[in-house]
């Protein structure tokens, strides 16, 4: 080089890590593991001490993992330790209900034997999944930092992040897996459209007298849907939706009074019920980022989209982001591309956009049609549920949709290595 001034002006860029991940919950560690499987180094940054994140007792939270999410956990090598605590979902029964009357006789029934891939999904408690992922990230290509991200700025060839302690880190790319309040999205100036459903989800787990036989139930009630999802043993996870005001009033009740509210909605098909674990409420809203990626920044999981937890698709959608992002980045690295380049990141954003829009739209519409007590609409949806039930092809299509088998599937979701 015959222009020494150039070398003097330009500081050479050797990043501390390939990818910085803000957020060490579920999607963050899953992403770090997926990237490590392709040889990409990641640093997970989370202010909550890892032992605290890991040692959580059963708090009533559980996930309905789709078949494809289970495939992915298998491919990442974390399913083996989760499997013993997972309840396969063998059947899904969807019915239209009215509080105090139980389910309408016209309903929709999905049986996993109708598709060749096996159970449509598994119910897994948050504590087991979290522990398995957090144990797995003790990996030579993964660095874990107990800190928070307070600032981020684009620098030549990368991004620089400032931590709570004042230290700075550089990388090719910063990924926000930092949830609904995503600071990464905010600082990157990515606008997120938010919509309030005027509803709150009440979440709890119950123990019941009779076995659930691996059947998941979804009742569409006028105030909002009620889901009964089978957990290992004679336990089920309940997600129950009410208006904000009703939910606040119910949450304030004693456990006994709470159960009295729940029981008539629940019906008596599982025998006597009692609470197992804590009670939670989550205000329901739809949040969707205008962009899943911008220069040197990508978003995944709730940072990119928070959806109505109606079909238990929140985490599944997050893992789909993770699988697509990891496949895009590893594919780019294998042909020598700069993985933080906006052209690489736009491939991820494009891949996820259609899928997310479809699911968000469908979930939104289903909720609006069913959260209504108009007698005509009620008759109409009873008839259409019965009609879908009568047509095997339509039913199979919905089963495959629920199992996550539709769309342009990333390799990890097919259970294959990237």
């Amino acid at each position: 080089m015959d222009n020494p001034a150039i070398a003097a002006i330009i500081a050479s860029m050797k990043p501390d890590s390939d990818v910085l991940i803000a957020g060490g919950g579920l999607n963050g560690p899953a992403l770090a593991l997926a990237l490590a499987s392709g040889g990409i180094r990641a640093t997970i940054i989370d202010p909550t001490p890892k032992p605290t994140r890991k040692a959580a007792d059963f708090d009533g939270r559980a996930y309905a993992l789709s078949l494809t999410s289970v495939n992915m956990l298998k491919a990442l090598g974390v399913w083996a330790t989760v499997a013993d605590h997972a309840q396969p979902i063998l059947d899904i029964v969807v019915s239209d209900g009215k509080a105090g009357e139980g389910a309408s006789p016209l309903h929709l029934h999905f049986d996993h034997r109708e598709i060749e891939e096996g159970p449509m999904g598994h119910m897994v408690e948050d504590r087991y999944l979290r522990r398995a992922l957090l144990n797995a990230v003790d990996h030579p290509l993964i660095t874990q930092l107990e800190d928070s991200v307070t600032a981020q700025r684009i620098i030549p060839g990368g991004i620089e992040v400032t931590l709570g302690g004042g230290k700075t880190l550089t990388a090719r790319l910063l990924v926000g897996c930092d949830g609904r309040q995503s600071g990464v999205a905010k600082r990157a100036g990515i606008n997120r459209m938010a919509k309030d459903y005027g509803q709150t989800a009440l979440v709890c787990a119950v123990e019941h007298e009779k076995p659930h036989n691996g059947t998941a139930h979804q009742f569409f009630m006028p105030p909002g849907p009620l889901a009964i999802l089978p957990l290992p043993g004679n336990r089920s996870s309940i997600v129950w939706t009410e208006t904000h005001a009703r939910a606040a009033a119910i949450q304030a009740l004693s456990d006994t009074e709470y159960l009295e509210e729940l029981r008539p909605r629940f019906g008596d098909f599982l025998g006597k019920i009692k609470l197992a674990g804590k009670r939670f409420t989550y205000p329901l809203g739809l949040i969707i980022a205008d962009d899943f990626a911008t220069d040197r920044v990508a978003l995944a999981g709730d940072a990119a989209h928070g959806i109505h937890p109606l079909a238990g698709q929140g985490l599944n959608l997050g893992l789909r982001d993770v699988a697509s992002l990891a496949e895009t980045l590893i594919g780019a690295a294998r042909i020598g591309e700069d993985i933080g380049n906006p052209i690489v990141l736009s491939r991820y954003a494009q891949w996820r956009r259609t899928d997310t829009a479809t699911l968000v739209g469908a979930t939104d519409t289903i909720n609006r049609v069913f959260s209504n007590d108009n007698p005509l609409l009620r008759l109409g949806r009873d008839l259409s549920l019965a009609a879908i039930n009568a047509i095997p092809a339509a039913r199979r299509k919905l089963i495959r949709e629920a199992a996550g088998l539709t769309g342009d599937l990333p390799r990890l979701l097919q259970g294959r290595q990237i």
Binding site: M1, D2, N3, I6, A7, I10, S12, M13, K14, P15, G38, G39, I40, P156, G157, A332, A333, R334, I335, G336, E337, D338, N341, P342, I343, V344, R347
Partner: protein, 249 residues
């Protein structure tokens, strides 16, 4: 810069055109957007050919360790940088002097060591340089004497070495797509970037490669889909942009 252009086949007016564009190289939304859009497909083909020819592990992130690669017409380094990132020792050569500092600055920002030189294939061949791989992408349609140029490339390759070369076909469709479409309608490239009569058909190119003493082993098309707004690789459609792989016996 000490370029020894003894017997250059590069057309001076061609060099001047690219000099005017040099500063824009690395802006993915700027003037070189079409090249940035096409780059992943080109890279996919190049990396695949090199991994196959030299028996490298395609899942490795540094499969090119130990390979010496020459990128002719390196421009701002859009191909040189990925090659260096994959572990190769890269020489980026460009006949347009202004491209060299642009490429150097960017390589340093990317934390990559690349030997950029203001020189030509002919000068490098005369100096006795040897390479495992030569990248010859979108260059041959700009040189004054393609056979002399390809002969220099042949001399630069070690026995068993690989040359990947892409260019534009010559037919009415390529005229419409590459000149009328890219230069006039889309204004992707400055007018006058290409001269249609310099375009070469795949059969003509294969004949030239053989005359230069190399053995053509593969040819594929790069196809732009205006609906998806993206490029893909095609076994059959070589009607506009196409790529070839050849080896030195």
């Amino acid at each position: 810069m000490s370029a020894t252009q003894t017997k250059s086949t590069v057309d001076d007016t061609e060099i001047a055109k690219f000099e005017a564009m040099a500063a824009e190289w690395w802006d993915p939304t700027g003037k070189f957007k079409p090249l940035h859009l096409m780059n992943p497909v080109r890279l996919g083909y190049i990396v695949d050919q090199i991994n196959t020819e030299f028996n490298r592990d395609a899942t490795s992130l540094r499969p090119f360790e130990g390979l010496r690669i020459l990128d002719i017409g390196c421009g701002g380094g859009l191909l040189s940088e990925p090659m260096a990132r994959l572990g190769a020792a890269v020489v980026g050569a460009d006949a347009a002097e202004r491209n060299i500092p642009v490429a150097q600055i960017h390589a340093e920002q990317s934390g990559l060591e690349i030997d950029y030189r203001h020189t030509t294939a002919e000068a490098l061949a005369e100096a006795g340089e040897q390479f495992d791989v030569i990248l010859n992408m979108e260059v041959v349609e700009h040189v004054a004497d393609p056979l002399a140029y390809l002969t220099a490339c042949q001399q630069l390759l070690k026995p068993g070495g690989l040359m990947v070369m892409s260019t534009i076909n010559r037919n009415p469709k390529s005229y419409i797509m590459a000149i009328f479409g890219a230069e006039v309608v889309m204004r992707w490239l400055p007018r006058g970037t290409h001269e249609w009569d310099k375009f070469i058909t795949p059969d003509e190119l294969f004949a030239l490669i053989e005359q230069a003493g190399l053995k053509p082993v593969d040819r594929k098309g790069f196809v732009f889909n205006p609906v998806k707004w993206s490029w893909s690789i095609s076994d059959r459609d070589l009607s506009v942009n196409y790529v070839t792989a050849s080896v030195k016996p």
